[in-house]
């Protein structure tokens, strides 16, 4: 009886532990994917560390996993990468004086373009009306041009 109870308790606690462990793994995996997707592989510059097959990306993935396991926060890990590889390692560059043009540039261009459109439309004078030539004038034109019959 007691052995069966002990066995059941043992099985239960094992299940709970496994459950907790796999939930932890899932959370770690989620964080890992999130971070790997934010980092640029500097070898093949248009791929993330998550997608790239370059060896450096593999090393950085290993680094990410180790740091996540060591309990470092996302910010700490990203700081670690930026300290070594610069802002370029982030797919989304941070907003700071050096990157202001990058962030504000498109909007500035849009504003300039809208301004130009507004200026041109406001400045445009209404088109003059096209009036028919009176018959006498038409005849005169025909005479000058040497045509016999006004068309």
């Amino acid at each position: 009886m007691t052995t069966r109870l002990a066995a059941r308790l043992g099985a239960l606690s094992l299940a709970v532990c496994l459950g907790i462990a796999s939930a932890q793994d899932a959370a770690e995996e989620e964080r890992f994917r999130h971070l790997a997707g934010k980092l640029r592989c500097l070898v093949c510059q248009n791929q993330t560390v998550a997608d790239s097959g370059a060896e450096l990306a593999g090393d950085l993935r290993r680094e990410l996993r180790e740091q996540i396991r060591a309990g470092r926060s996302d910010e700490q890990i990203l700081e670690f990468m930026v300290a070594r590889y610069g802002d370029f390692v982030l797919y989304e560059p941070p907003l700071k004086p050096a990157t202001l043009l990058l962030w504000a540039g498109p909007f500035a261009l849009l504003a300039v373009a809208l301004g130009a459109v507004a200026w041109i439309t406001l400045r445009r004078r209404p088109a003059p009306e096209v009036r028919e030539l009176p018959p006498e004038a038409r005849e005169q034109v025909a005479r000058v041009l040497g045509e016999k019959e006004p068309k």
Binding site: L42, E55, D59, E63, A83, R84, Y85, G86, D87, F88
Partner: protein
Amino acid sequence: MKRALIPLAIFLVIAGFLYVGLDLNPRQVPSPLVGRPAPNFDLPVLGDPERRFGPVEMKGRPWLLNVWASWCVTCREEHPVLVDLAKKKLVPILGLNYKDKPEEAIAWLKRFGDPYDLSIVDAEGRVGIDYGVYGVPETYLVDRDGVIRFKHIGALTPEIVENRILPLLKTP
């Protein structure tokens, strides 16, 4: 007349941007490490694994750290430049043998000449990560205070040595 100048102005602006853009190299990512202390490490020496080496041993004098590997094609291209520089004995050159097999690295140095005062073995590329290495070869100039003064990504050329590295050695 004035209106005709507008397309010309737009053209000049775009041409200016494109001209500058042509000269930019997306591989030359500015290193955040320039102006910062060289990251520490403690690695086995190539060919003498019992011995370990770290940047602390270089305190008080400037040195070059050249990241190389026997599998790296561009390293062969820059190799004569390093051999030349080593002959002048202006600055100690340390090699960081990056993600390489020691026996292949040693054979490579035997074949092409060894410009390094010593090479240290970074088999797993961990020190490489600390130094922000992503394209071998890379070269760092560390000053006497242990601060990185200059970083070059890609093959060294005689011009870079002459115009960038040597002047930095002269200014304390």
